[in-house]
């Protein structure tokens, strides 16, 4: 009897222990959301490949932060007893991470597509501005700073295009903002000045028509200088006979106001003197009667009004002369043609031949199309 009890006393706790151990091992415990975590990782990785970290930064950061929270929760749950673990929060964070990553992915895709397009358009727009500056305003008087801005803007524009080509849209955008600040004000300045300049077009047209009519009436030669086109036109009997390229003063836009302003005057003049040989440094020259009475009156009025200083002096010695063909506006206000062309002009003109200088023979619309 004693022996039986002894067995019972030993076997029972052992049995209980083994049973409990078995229960501990085989009792169902909550499983971590491995699949959901993997799905979240894939979604984040896909978003990253679409550069969501750059082009949908907030959503992407939310996705990453949710994933990190899921990992932290998982770690915390692992530290608990196996039977008291709850992966609900882990699952929740993983699901949020996957959702946000997907949203970030789509958002980044849309943003990059939009940026790609917008930046391409902006590059084209600024290239057009640069092209216009170089074509319409290449010979337009501008300050050194403005010319430097154009040069700098062109280089940064090329940099922006390289960044755009590499898909670095924010970098490209940053550079385009710089380019815009350099090119656009210069363009606007030149454009506004040109538009203001062309307000005198009806007057120029009247002068030109009158000069051509005079040539027809007198059956003689007349000269019209078109400053914008840089052309010297020769009419005979009202018909256009010759057209030469001309070079003007550096500040050719606008009327001449004062001595030394390097501007070419506008008005109806006539040849008053002819120089050749040693009497001129410019091969041959035809001097016109600038300033005429009207120019003098305008100059005096400007001085009276104070728009010109009292010490200002009126210009003079405006000529059509040789030594041209340099491809730049270099004179002090005269009109330069090549020596060969000067020979012809010298031969066909006489003292009294009308010389009309206009801003442009064509209207602003044509000037802008140039």
């Amino acid at each position: 009897m004693h022996r039986v009890w002894k067995h019972i006393l030993i076997i029972t706790p052992l049995f209980v222990f083994v049973a409990l151990t078995g229960l501990l091992i085989f009792y169902p415990v909550p499983e971590p959301p491995v699949g959901e975590m993997a799905a979240a990782r894939v979604a984040i990785s896909n978003a990253s490949k679409k550069n969501a970290g750059i082009y949908s930064e907030n959503l992407f950061m939310e996705a990453k932060s949710s994933y990190d929270s899921a990992m932290s929760c998982w770690g915390r749950e692992n530290k608990k007893s196996r039977y008291s673990r709850n992966y609900g929060k882990v699952s929740e964070f993983a699901s949020i991470a996957a959702k946000k990553a997907l949203e970030a992915s789509n958002d980044a895709e849309n943003n990059t597509a939009n940026l790609n397009l917008t930046i391409r358009e902006k590059i084209n727009e600024l290239k057009k501005t640069d092209e216009d500056l170089n074509q319409r305003f290449s010979k337009y008087p501008m300050s050194t700073e403005m010319r430097n801005n154009i040069s700098k803007g062109e280089i940064i524009l090329a940099e922006a295009e390289i960044e755009w080509g590499k898909g670095e849209y924010f970098q490209a955008q940053k550079k385009l903002t710089e380019v815009e600040k350099l090119l656009v004000p210069t363009y606007e300045y030149a454009d506004a000045n040109l538009r203001s300049y062309f307000r005198s077009y009806p007057l120029w047209k009247r002068w030109a028509d009158s000069t051509i009519a005079e040539s027809r009436t007198n059956q003689d030669y007349s000269i019209i200088v078109d400053k914008f086109s840089r052309k010297v036109y020769v009419y005979f009997n009202g018909e256009l006979q010759l057209a030469y390229s001309a070079e003007l003063g550096k500040n050719w836009v606008g009327d001449k106001r004062v001595r030394g302003d390097k501007a070419t005057p506008e008005g109806m003049y006539e040849i008053t003197k002819k120089y050749d040989g040693d009497s001129t440094s410019y091969y041959k020259a035809l001097q016109i009667n600038y300033p005429n009475d009207e120019d003098t009156a305008l100059f005096e009025a400007a001085r009276e009004k104070g728009s010109l200083p009292r010490s200002a002096m009126i210009g003079g010695m405006i000529q059509i002369h040789g030594n041209g063909g340099k491809g730049a506006d270099w004179t002090a206000g005269c009109i330069a043609v090549t020596n060969r062309e000067m020979d012809t002009l010298f031969k066909i003109t006489r003292i009294g031949t009308p010389v009309t200088i206009v801003g442009s023979l064509r209207d602003l619309r044509h000037a802008l199309k140039r």
Binding site: V18, R147, K326
Partner: protein
Amino acid sequence: MKNKILLGLAAIAMVAVLASCGKKPQAEIDATSAAIAAAQTAEANVYLPGEFAALQDSMNAVNAKIAEVDGKLFKNYKTVVADLAKVKTDAETVTANVAVKKDEVKKEAEGLLNNIKAVVAENAKLLPKLPRGKEGAAVIEQIKGDLNAVDATVAEAQSLFDKGTYMDALNKIKAATDKANSLNAEIKEVLTKARIRF
């Protein structure tokens, strides 16, 4: 009977040993993380962004696997250790590849920088030959402005190159090269037109 009791106790001890035999491979984790950090320091994220992102993805997957094993009763980190070793090797490969890629970009930037410097030097040499006097003043002034812009860009590129930011330097040099070449052509055209030998 005594033997049976001993057998039972041995089984319990085995369970206890098995349950605690797998230790977290902290040394391997640290080594792999360090390898990834080294890849980042080598600017893998700049020069090989795709490869670097793949490394980070792999490390995230390994971390999840570690968490999964951490939660098990019988911990076995064998596959984790193997995965960590693979990620570490990959990170070291990426670091080596970055050095190669960086060297390629450096050489390209260096070559282009030398080319553009040669053009800039030639332009500077030709500039005084441009027709002087009031006739050429306007042209010279404009060309000088353009040359200054190119010079400034080359100086910026050189500074980026010296700092080791070769990719940014390369972009700047590429952007300035066209301008420098077109200026060179323009100067030569003016000199040819003015019949000046260069």
